[in-house]
Amino acid sequence: MSEVLFYAFAAIAVAGALGMVLNLHNTVAAALSLVGTMVALGGLYVLLEAYLIGVLQILVYAGAIVVVFLFVVMLLNLRRDVFPAGRQWMTKGLALGISLVVLVRFLRLVPGSFGEPAALPEGFGGYREIGARLFTDYVLAFEVTSLLLLAAMVGAVILAKREPSEPDGDPRTPVSRSEAS
């Protein structure tokens, strides 16, 4: 049963990933393929008895992050020629470099991963165990991440709060004649 499920989820994950990379002309379809991959990965985590990570994968990645991607894609309606050519090469090079590093690390892991899996410790994958670890052993990483998110949030607020050059931006705050002139 779990093997069948594994292959089903794995196939969906790979198909979704390919769909995202190969959908050059339809950005929304690409983002939706990414959702498929995220949900399938969540299923794979659940099969590995990492229940909390599995649900969070769906809740955070599929449910929140990719929705925001879609939001941006739909609102901006970006096309390829919006970006200057030099920047495109930089982005592609960076993506290739990171993928290569991850691939090498992954290939190193492969030889040691055959054979019987180790027994799971008590409470593995539950929110109690993960919560306790997060706030004791990994509290520094946790706090640094929260600081990063806070910085991103402040940045977003500053970008969004930029004063409009024309005073007719917000219909809720009427501008008096003397201010507008």
Binding site: V55, G63, V67, M74
Partner: protein, 386 residues
Amino acid sequence: MTEVVLKLLFIVLVVAGGMLPLITWIERKQSAVMQDRIGANRADLMGVTLLGLLHPAADVLKLFSKEDVVPEGANRLLHLLAPVIAFVPALLVLAVIPYGGAYRFGDTTLSLVVADVDWGMLFVFAAGSIATYGAVIAGWASNSNWGLLGSMRASAQMISYEVTMGLSLVGMFMVAGSLRLPEIAAFQDQSFRLLGFLLHMGFVEGETLPFHLDLLRLPMWGIFLQPLGFLLFLTCIMAENKRPPFDAPEGESELIAGYHMEYSGMRFGLFYTAEFLEVPVIGAIVATLFLGGWAIPFLSQETIIAFVAGGFGEGFATGLCLVLHVLCFLTKVAILIWLQMALRWTLPRFRYDQVMDLCWKMILPLSILNVFVTGAGILLVEGVIS
């Protein structure tokens, strides 16, 4: 395996198949009562109208026989998928809701929940977050500006309220000490003394309160332990459903019908059904978390079984307890459905910026405050509530 299949059949037939048509009827009658009308009563089968109960059947017949229009330039696959994605999560949530407690008949234990999982409430959140895609895809795939604007609003609203929905529940999780829905419901199957602090602080001599003070009790329900959490969570989960007063994504006056504008026939019917199915689902979730689930106030499971088993035997007592608990749960769900209907027909629609302000400027700070107050309360009060 057969047990799970039977439970799923119960859910699909009774909850989805039986309650869903009833809900549309209740909505019509409720709105009629509130607007001083008679309400739906015209659909008849050879003169029999059954108080308008035939209207749901007429609705379905109409929706299935309508022309299925796909607008020009629409993405056909996604246009087809969107209603399904909107509908399925609401059904999925029914799997983790406890319709009753756990009952021991001889050697076997019958637990009235399909998936008794440790992360039950997180599963509800995850399913809800997937439902967002139904609205987003619907608006985008139908190649319409109104639809796209509606889906923008829908996704922004749903993502925002998801955040506060989780935060407003943290207090309840801290009090109950679990995310597992059957455990949260079982936790509420007890009562606490209102004046227990007198004993704790030494105002009353001895080990127990005088009898008349001991009688001043409340059931250990979420709504009494977490009143603020209850209000915030109810608001958030109703906003997730996008029914009035939170229906800015489909505000007729500015967006015609929002994200499902380009849908007709049963495809529109699925969006409509999803919204209606979410009403009892919301009722079930809120009842489980804050109204004690299947628990009967002041009569815990042990009390009932001990009382009845004396005269009629253990098996009969447990069976009776099961029936009473399921009935009690359904009663609470019915009350919450009525509450949602009454709110829906009372309040006017929020403007879109008001919906967002309510979420980020009022509910978010209040729910964070609730977490801190609950934490302090648990530290201070520990041992007093018992």
